[in-house]
């Protein structure tokens, strides 16, 4: 049984003039200790997916259907009280901007102690000891001093280390990292990512990495999901997708990256931009920008087909697979 299983999750935003579909039939699973990448443009629904897992989707968003199973237990059916025991405790989350995620008026120590005391019955002294140990674990310089400092006294990289320490505080099973390095500069990014990776491996923590950085995903994760307009259009082992992307959108994303081997090459651009939630076209949402568009694409959303170990939702890909199957085996 997978640690986390998301089945046909539908999330909508109730706005004037009807509902907007933010997530449509999202299904994926996460095993213990596995590292999963969630990739897509801004507005594809990555963060909505993360918050929906914890049932923390803010008004006017609501979960319209589907289920989220954590260790086989349905989170959608749980009471707020039960959910609170899972949030932070079993599933922790790291946010994008370390400047904003820490409470500016409480010391680092206070925030860590409080998180521990919210979930465990321990004394402040014991909680402080655990906090100190976790700060040492994220190799922050002079951790005992940091406990009594306010967030504004720390640098961006140090704050993100503190945030990782807080995420690890209760030894969670899953860490959802929502663009954890976007707000940091490149050298710090690499350090923070290496640290996060090492800590997850060490404690066998599953990591769900939300990002639009394909390079990061290819280095860190074992499996990846590509999202577009609230749908998962491709999912499978990261290596296979990066090396041989099936969906035209994923191909476009990868071609848009600069390559080391080809200096001076003009980077590929996917024409157009992602539709806003209120104007998602019928059929495959990518069809207005797709080079392989057919009438079929304009009318119905394609089902997933298997290509190798990768699940893709694209008519073009399914056609290619059919052709391959029909073609007689050519032996050299």
């Amino acid at each position: 049984m997978a640690l986390l299983e998301v089945n046909n999750l539908d999330v909508r935003f109730a706005v004037r003039g009807g509902d907007l579909q933010a997530l449509q039939s999202i299904s994926f699973s996460l095993d213990k200790g596995e590292r999963l990448g969630l990739v897509g443009e801004s507005g594809a629904g990555k963060s909505v997916a993360a918050f929906s897992i914890l049932k923390l989707i803010a008004q006017p968003g609501y979960i319209a259907g589907g289920e989220v199973l954590f260790e086989g237990r349905n989170l959608s059916a749980m009471s707020e009280r039960e959910l609170r025991q899972i949030r932070g405790n079993r599933i922790a989350m790291i946010f994008q901007d370390p400047m904003m995620t820490l409470n500016p008026v409480l010391t680092v120590g206070t925030q860590m102690v409080e998180a521990l005391k919210a979930h465990r019955r321990i004394s402040t002294r014991a909680a402080r000891d655990i906090a100190l140990k976790k700060l040492q674990k994220v190799s922050i310089p002079s951790p005992d001093k940091r406990l009594d400092q306010y967030p504004h006294e720390l640098s961006g990289g140090m704050r993100q280390r503190v945030i990782i320490a807080i995420a690890l505080l209760l030894d969670p099973d899953i860490i959802i990292a929502d663009e954890p390095t976007t707000a940091l500069d490149v050298t710090i990014q690499a350090e923070i990512m290496a640290l996060l990776l090492a800590l997850c491996e060490q404690d066998n923590v599953a990591l769900m990495l939300i990002t639009h950085d394909l390079g990061l995903v290819s280095q860190v994760t074992q499996r990846m999901l590509v999202m577009y307009s609230g749908r998962i259009i491709e999912q499978g082992p990261t290596k296979e997708i990066i090396n041989d992307a099936q969906h035209p959108y994923t191909q476009g994303l990868i071609n848009a990256l600069p390559q080391m081997g080809e200096p001076g090459r003009r980077l590929y651009q996917i024409p157009g931009s992602m539709p806003s939630l209120s104007r998602i076209p019928p059929g495959c949402p990518f069809h207005p920008r797709c080079p392989f568009v057919t009438d079929e694409c304009r009318q119905t959303m394609p089902e997933y087909v298997q290509s190798g170990n990768v699940d893709v939702a694209c008519y073009e890909v399914s056609k290619l697979i059919e052709q391959e199957n029909r073609a007689p085996e050519v032996t050299p």
């Binding site: 932070g88 946010f95 904003m100 820490l102 409080e114 979930h119 945030i163």
Partner: protein
């Protein structure tokens, strides 16, 4: 360890608060005057030459004596006496104490109500917000004094004059507190609305903290600076409200006068030339309210996040 732990005092001395205070003459003067008045009020029994509450010390023959520097003044009464023969200096000291007590007490009361309702309205939103803020709106559409007069009159009628005299201080605190809570509630609500959209609130939710903990432990401390600023203004307002109520005869009784009731008691004699009974406590009241407002202004400039963030 070579780096000594930074004490709170060191932290304060390096803070922007202390830095800007040192450079603002108005703030320093206001603060000194304010502290002097507060100390004089708090330690009134030590400074005052007589006890105005002790009827045995009052001699009606001494009534309406002018201050010592005027013809007919008595060295025993530096600022003269009031219509009942009480030493005016002692009465003012005791009156300042009463006024300050009511001012601070009323703001504590307002603060408790305002913070609670403001937090609930701002954080929970929806129906709670609508109901609480409509109550506040309705109350704000009356004048504060009118609410206080109505509540005060009801209390006075139900307790009787004698009993009311004994509990007048607490009654005034409650009355002014109830009449002014919407001011603080609105300020709190506005800052809560801004704070609750910030990521640290999401982070707190993700950590599995409950609503109460997020409201009081995480959001409230972040809204403290506007609360602090408005509280200083509200202290001045409460002192004035109390004076106004006392002047109208709904406040402190003559037997334990506040600054307001002293002014009122002198007002009847101002035509007969005894101006000091009204003017001197009036001056003290004006100075007290002025320095509180000046301090409040300075605090507001200080804590304005546009000028200073930290």
């Amino acid at each position: 360890m070579t780096t000594a732990t930074v004490s709170r005092w060191d932290r304060f001395r390096e803070s922007f608060l202390w830095y800007s205070f040192k450079r603002d003459k108005i703030a320093i003067v206001s603060f000194v005057v304010f502290v002097a008045i507060v100390l004089a009020g708090v330690f009134a029994p030590l400074f005052a030459p007589a006890d105005p509450y002790d009827l045995a010390q009052i001699n009606i023959m001494n009534s309406e004596l002018p201050p010592v520097w005027m013809a007919g003044g008595d060295a025993q009464f530096p600022l003269g006496t009031d219509a009942q023969g009480r030493d005016l200096l002692s009465t003012i000291l005791y009156g300042t104490r009463v006024s300050l007590l009511i001012g601070f007490g009323a703001v504590l009361m307002q603060g408790a109500l305002g913070i609670l309702f403001g937090l609930l309205a701002g954080y929970l939103g929806g129906r709670v917000d609508a109901v609480l803020m409509r109550i506040a709106d309705v109350q704000l559409s009356f004048s504060t004094l009118m609410v206080a007069i109505i509540v005060g009159a009801v209390f006075k009628a139900s307790f009787g004059n004698l009993m009311f005299g004994e509990i007048a201080i607490y009654m005034l605190i409650v009355i002014i507190g109830i009449a002014e809570w919407p001011q603080i509630a609105r300020t709190v609500r506005a800052s809560v609305l801004a704070e609750k959209k910030k990521e640290y609130v999401d982070a707190a939710k993700v950590m599995g903290f409950g609503t109460n903990r997020i409201m009081f432990r995480h959001i409230l401390p972040n809204t403290l600076s506007p609360i602090f600023v408005i509280s200083t203004v509200q202290i001045a307002n409460a002192i004035i409200s109390e004076a106004a109520l006392s002047f109208l005869g709904l406040g402190m009784p003559e037997t334990q006068p506040s600054l307001g009731s002293l002014i009122k008691s002198g007002f009847d004699y101002i035509q007969s030339g005894s101006w000091w009974i009204t003017l001197i406590p009036g001056l003290v009241l004006v100075v007290l309210v002025l320095v509180i407002n000046l301090l409040g202004d300075w605090l507001r400039d200080m804590m304005n996040p546009r000028l200073y963030k930290g």
